[in-house]
């Protein structure tokens, strides 16, 4: 008897579900009223957003990790390159300060030089060298 009652309840819910699914959009919106429809829309959209964001982050997580690693490697490489260049230019500032008045200016401070200044200096010296060899 109990099982029959459970089955009846399930069947009733299935019928109710079927009726709700069959209702037209106008009927559905009219039954809830504009305010409740707006609230339902926002609530359901929030759930959709949550699931899409979760799916995005699970897809993006490995990519972001990889990109982060690559960026760190690039930064390390760039720093290494600058430091090689900076060491070379620092040595020039001591041994050949006449090459450019900016050589000593860039390396005057005890702080590490600005990589942009180092690059500019390197370009200036390279240009001078190229002009001389013409």
């Amino acid at each position: 008897v109990k099982q029959t009652k459970n089955r009846q309840t399930d069947a009733l819910l299935d019928v109710a579900e079927k009726l709700l699914l069959e209702a037209s959009d106008d009927e559905v919106l009219a039954s809830s009223g504009p305010q409740a429809a707006r609230v339902a829309g926002l609530e359901v959209q929030a759930l959709v957003r949550k699931n899409i964001d979760a799916a995005n982050s699970s897809v993006m997580a490995p990519q972001a990790k990889k990109a982060g690693r690559a960026k760190r490697n690039l930064t390390a490489q760039a720093k290494h390159k600058v430091s090689v260049l900076a060491s070379f230019l620092r040595a020039l500032a001591v041994t050949r300060p006449e090459l450019s008045p900016r050589l000593q200016a860039v390396f005057r401070s005890s702080q590490p030089p600005d990589p942009v200044d180092v690059e500019k200096l390197a370009v200036e010296l390279l240009k001078k060298h190229l002009d001389k060899s013409k």
């Binding site: 099982q3 459970n6 309840t9 009733l12 019928v15 109710a16 709700l20 809830s32 429809a37 759930l47």
Partner: protein, 188 residues
Amino acid sequence: MKLDKSEVLQTATPGEVRAALLGLSSADSVRLKQLAKLRAPGTGMEWADLLNEAFARAMGGQRQWPIGVPFVAFIAQTMRSIASDERRSRDFVVSLDEAQADEGPGRSDGELTPSTDVTPERELSAKQQLGQVQALFEDDAVSLAILVATAEEMAPDAIQKQLGLSATQYASALRKIRRRLQTFSSGD
């Protein structure tokens, strides 16, 4: 609408599921909330948790969306299945608790299997749901009779004959039932 069998069996890609979720209309949102509120009682879940779980399963691919089935109907089926599993697992916890409570010195087999019988918990949940539906139609015996007869898989013709309704009266009664169900499921 009659669907081609191959159309029903073909399942949507994750991108199609995502597009369907993003394309839900206001009416779809209301419908989904109503359906979730209908299924949630007795599961221990709020309607939003039930709907969220259905979305998650659809997005994660644990539930495959057959292309020929309308998306809202597919999510409704998913919620139905989740609700049913939740009720069963709640019954299982209850039956485990009962088994442990009953376990005396004479019982040493230690075998705990989920009960497929009607547990008091499941019966209570069914009673609550049945009570909710009955309460909705307590002042409208005809509507309740139509609902029960439909649940018993009686054909519309037979229901009309049994209740002495014309086709128009029957259609109007169905609209009334739908409205009540919608109002009930739309409330907070």
